[in-house]
């Protein structure tokens, strides 16, 4: 490959709490890029068959989509600094069409890359300590966590430390690179689950016991897709030092026993379901046999990684009253969240403008967010699993100025948690597996409910849309879930109600026969009208649904027909 010098990276903001690479980490990345380049060359020389090359490129985040190669870049546990976000903007402009797409795995995808450019893109990423390793393939994927980590008042343990440890441990793991299927781990350190841990292959809740020691509730075998399942709890309090050893035991059990002959039965959730109590038994037996010392997580390592996530230099401030301006208040009411430090707040930036593509950001918007993060949030940015961005640590007295900056960049949509804050997978517009469009459905719903007062009146409601049964849009756990399927050549949409991805995780219930592409927006409208008609004062959609059940919605949807 011709060596195009990557753009000289801007300096990392000094107080951004991303994991700081050292010389060995950088050497590793350079080696990994060299390995991938060699694989591309061997493919071109015919030494690797396409069948052999495919999983190798996937393990470097490179997919062949409908129109082009898509490169998925890892944003470990959704944490970015301003220099990294600027570099993503540069990549979007230079090698894509000026856009990037943030995903529900807290990653970013570029949908229009060329194979021959990929090594250069990887070098441009390496210049800011980023990569595309294990963003696809049957291996351990990017670990996700709470977008408010280090900022949320309810946080008990900082999950970033363990997410980074898991990132390192799983990187090119020699034993777990050829698993039956992909493997996703989520970790939270707060009692309120913001990572959907019960629908992950492994979900970890970091917590403290009465003595103040850190441990983990370990859940395994949750997942969405064709067979949605809620995870089983294996341990309630796994001691901190045992984290890696115990996860080794789970992965070994899965690698040895997971199904490999049927792609739809290959996820760990199927093994956990089929073995029942024997799964936990097999894990415990494996764990009892493995040499604890070899896999023990040394407190010195934890302490060293913790330093990377030390609190930024917060000032001693008092809470300040917010400006009265109603437009500002409307935005702040949705976007501003309480912080663990007085005088600070976390701010969610909506990537869901009315009629826009959920999760898309232009290069200019990325640069604007980088600039605002440097000015107002120690240079730190988070990607949320609902495809928005977060500035974690903003001084309350700066909120009005930040809002002005966001408005200038077209990033001040005041719709966080409302009907138009939709999760949608790429669907038929990009994805080779899609059976229906999902982005245009999201756009039409968002346009239908463009009136903010109406959205506010409806209240919190999560709409999730997938373009096929693989469920990348997490439709099962949406308050309103929409799944596009193909019915004799026609796109139709199945609607489920009552899903939830948090502590009270639940899978939505099907309302009845599917709706056509034209009718699905009306169906959402009818559902929400029914909610408004039946709700108690201040009652959220999900609570109203749980109280009154499916029948009134069913009746409203199908009675007329």
């Amino acid at each position: 490959m011709n060596a195009i010098a990557p753009r000289p990276a801007a300096p990392i903001p000094p107080h951004a709490r991303t994991y700081r690479y050292d010389a060995v980490d950088r050497e590793f990345l350079a080696e990994r890029i060299a390995e991938f380049e060699g694989q591309v060359q061997r493919r071109l020389a015919g030494e690797l068959t396409e069948e052999e090359f495919k999983p190798l490129r996937l393990m470097n985040g490179l997919y062949l989509q409908l129109h082009a190669y898509m490169l998925r870049i890892a944003i470990p546990y959704g944490v970015l600094n301003a220099a990294q976000l600027r570099q993503l903007a540069y990549i979007a402009r230079r090698w894509d069409r000026g856009f990037g797409h943030f995903t529900t795995r807290q990653n970013i995808q570029f949908n229009w890359t060329k194979l021959e450019d990929v090594p250069d893109i990887l070098r441009a990423l390496a210049a800011v300590d980023m990569h595309a390793i294990q963003t696809s393939g049957n291996c351990i994927r990017n670990v996700t966590t709470d977008e408010y980590a280090g900022a949320s008042p309810d946080e008990v343990v900082d999950p970033r430390i363990y997410a980074e440890i898991l990132r390192q441990w799983s990187t090119l793991h020699p034993e777990f690179t050829w698993l039956p299927r992909k493997f996703k781990i989520a970790i939270t350190g707060a009692p309120h689950d913001r990572v959907a841990l019960q629908v992950h292959d492994i979900g970890l809740e970091a917590k403290r016991n009465a003595a103040g020691e850190v441990g983990f509730a370990v859940h395994a075998g949750g997942g969405l897709g064709r067979t949605p399942l809620i995870a089983t709890k294996l341990r309630d309090f796994l001691p901190e030092a045992e984290l890696l050893g115990y996860l080794e035991a789970i992965l070994r059990t899965y690698n040895a026993l997971g199904q490999r002959d049927n792609i739809y039965k290959a996820r760990i959730k199927i093994l956990v379901r089929d073995l029942g109590a024997d799964f936990a038994k097999a894990v415990e037996e494996e764990y009892a046999r493995l040499p604890r010392d070899r896999y023990r997580l040394d407190p010195a390592i934890i302490a060293a990684i913790r330093q990377h996530f030390a609190p930024p230099p917060f000032l001693a401030l008092n809470d300040t009253p917010l400006p009265e301006d109603p437009a500002f208040r409307a935005w702040a009411g949705r976007s501003v969240r309480a912080h663990k430090r007085p005088g600070y707040a976390s701010v969610t930036i909506s990537l869901k403008p009315i009629g826009g593509i959920p999760g898309d950001a232009s290069a200019e918007q990325m640069e604007a967010v980088a600039r605002l993060a440097e000015r107002f949030s120690f240079g730190e940015i988070r990607v949320s699993h609902v495809q928005n961005l977060v500035l974690p640590h903003v001084r309350q007295e700066d909120l009005a100025e930040l809002w002005d900056g966001l408005r200038e960049a077209g990033l001040a949509a005041p719709n966080i948690g409302l009907v138009s804050d939709i999760i949608a997978c790429p669907g038929m517009d990009y994805c080779a597996l899609a059976t229906a469009r999902s982005i245009p459905v999201a756009q039409r719903i968002s346009e239908r409910f463009a009136d903010l007062d109406r959205q506010l009146d409806i209240g919190e409601c999560f709409v999730n849309i997938s373009g096929c049964i693989n469920a990348c849009g997490h439709h099962h756990v949406g308050h309103i879930g929409i799944l596009g399927v193909d019915k004799r050549g026609e796109e139709v949409y199945q609607v489920t109600l009552g899903g939830s991805a948090t502590n009270d995780a639940a899978l939505g219930e099907l309302v009845g026969p599917a709706f056509s592409y034209d009718d699905v927006v009306d169906a959402v409208e009818t559902i929400l009208r029914t909610h408004v008609a039946h709700r108690l004062p201040g009652e959220r959609f999900i609570d109203c649904y749980r109280r009154i059940g499916l029948a009134p919605f069913k009746e409203a949807l199908y009675a007329a027909a």
Partner: protein
């Protein structure tokens, strides 16, 4: 098939023996079925003995025979089938097996380094395979972020440099 060890092609002294054939007085590889069936006779044999462990059988199944075995062959039906990695690691870690572990079947050079770190010692490579490609593939990434059954230098953070022979 040529046999790869430490990145070089070496002579293979072992032969696979069919279930109904008489065992030679030289290193011989038998099936698991034969090993289990003829355990008593095989125990009295002087020449080295090896077995093929199918991917769906846990190493526990050959635990009673391991002190008699000089070789365990792990078959990868497809290179994407990673069960052999866990079998190899279990043989070393749970059973303390010190003989040869050989990966056979569909293996690609890009898996060589990981196989070694899981405890595999040799790979049966396809006819005409270039050992230089395999050797380069195991050297290209010389840093690892996790413990393995291969004795490594102690952890600093999680990762350390590997010493590749």
């Amino acid at each position: 098939m040529p046999l790869l060890e430490d990145g070089r092609i070496i002579d293979d002294a072992w032969v696979r023996v069919a279930d109904d054939a008489v065992l030679p007085d030289s290193p011989a590889i038998v099936t698991l079925a034969r090993l289990q069936r003829e355990a008593a006779q095989l125990a009295g044999r002087n020449a080295p003995l090896g077995v093929v462990l199918p991917p769906d059988v846990a190493p526990d199944a050959i635990a009673p025979f391991l002190d008699r075995l000089g070789l365990v062959v792990l078959e990868l039906p497809k290179f994407r089938d990673g069960r052999a990695f866990t079998q190899a690691r279990a043989l070393r870690e749970h059973h303390g097996f010190t003989g040869e572990i050989r990966a056979a079947g569909h293996v690609i050079p890009d898996q060589y380094a990981a196989l070694l770190r899981c405890g595999v010692s040799t790979v049966a490579v396809p006819e005409g395979a270039d050992p230089a490609v395999w050797d380069a593939a195991r050297r290209v990434v010389g840093i690892a972020y996790q413990a393995s059954v291969v004795p490594d230098s102690p952890l600093s953070l999680l990762r350390r440099k590997l010493e590749i022979a």
